[in-house]
Symmetry: C2
Subunit: 237 residues, 2 copies
């Protein structure tokens, strides 16, 4: 084993000479349901942090890109084929995992309500509601869930990222089916921002943006006047 300082240049560096961090990806899977943000979590049954809730994650293989690893975890651990995936932030504190040194690249995955419901029915993950500031994760009964490792911080960063991007990007549409009402779009914005918005102003802003196309059809199930269904102009999402 050569003696090359870790501070030396990459050129001439022997990758086997030094211990290196492991690299994982963790997925923050979010959906907007009933004007609230929900995240999919796994209940840990092993030590450490048994009984705590964790984000789905997995190691990055040597022959696999970060994006590919995120897609694989989405497929294998959540049972989902496609979703709006976007890199969020990389967490690399020394003691963030007590078992070994792990650097994790967090990804954000935005789901439609039926995707989240289907993943939950598959039984490997459970949806939790994200509320409050600072962020808490609650189950259906409203009791707080304790989160494993630094996953509460990861969820907080995810929510902050959403809040910062929602009103100038088209990421809100990733939470919605292909055809949706303006009310549903506003619900997504309110769930992400945690506030209420002015309806006529929201309506105008969205329509003036030129990104929405009216389909002429209307929602079917409503017990009131049915709203018009829109879709996104480009094949965004």
């Amino acid at each position: 084993m050569e003696h090359i300082s870790i501070g030396d240049d990459i050129d001439g560096y022997d990758p086997a000479a030094y211990d290196r961090p492991s690299v994982t990806v963790d997925l923050v899977l979010l959906a907007s349901i009933e004007r609230q943000l929900h995240a999919l979590l796994l209940r840990r049954d092993q030590s450490p942090q048994a009984g705590c809730w964790a984000l789905p994650g997995g190691f990055v293989a040597i022959d696999e890109s970060l994006d590919a690893a995120a897609a694989r975890v989405l497929r294998d651990k959540v049972g989902m084929e496609r979703a709006h995936l976007e890199q969020l932030y990389t967490f690399g504190a020394i003691d963030r995992d007590p078992r070994m040194r792990i650097v994790t690249v967090a990804y954000l995955a935005l789901l439609r309500p039926e995707q989240m419901a289907r993943a939950e029915r598959a039984g490997r993950v459970t949806a939790a509601t994200l509320v409050g500031d600072p962020l808490r994760a609650c189950n259906g009964e409203g009791t707080d869930l304790s989160l494993a490792f630094d996953h509460r911080a990861i969820l907080s960063v995810a929510r902050e990222r959403l809040r910062g991007k929602i009103d100038y990007s088209d990421l809100a549409f990733a939470f919605l089916p292909e055809r949706f009402t303006l009310r549903a779009l506003q619900d997504v914005h309110e769930a992400v921002l945690g506030t209420t918005l002015n309806k006529p102003a929201f309506r105008r802003k969205m329509l003036d943006r030129g990104q929405l196309v009216a389909t002429g059809d209307r929602e079917a199930d409503a017990s009131h006047r049915p709203a018009e269904l829109f879709r996104v102009r480009d094949a965004a999402v």
Copy 2:
């Protein structure tokens, strides 16, 4: 060596059992000089990509956080003690480095002009101008520099990040000395955005924000009416 699939849970995983990516940090060191963005680059003298220009970087040690690694590279490779450091994005394509599989966490470091000049005088790094869209790196004579690996993509992401954040964060002040004129602040914004801005509107917006404090002093060297010097209210930056 046990046979645990890379897709298995982290629990019960032997970190020595599989090849893992190496983790590095790369630093995008930027300054705003004469209404243009400049970046500090290292000229590679070894294969691969000898003669190309690269970002300063280094491996992340096993007992070192990502932020600490970035600070260490800043100190050891650039000779700089303190700077506004902020994580940018993590690049993990399989073939981004031909020597080995490397996942790199890119950091953004914002420098004041005299910091960049001092680092350049130290002789290890050279400043290049970032111009155009898509981004190009030019030397003093205006000829393009060829960048190593995926470092052009990293620089592009850095510039995009700056453009997205400059008008709602206080990152512009990291480019400026403690006391500065409104004209200098506007120059920073124009360098980052690559556009020209309206002077009275910019002035009003900045002053109305309540973040600036007038010092009462004025710049000294001007061959015209000297502008007032301001500073940031909080010890931001």
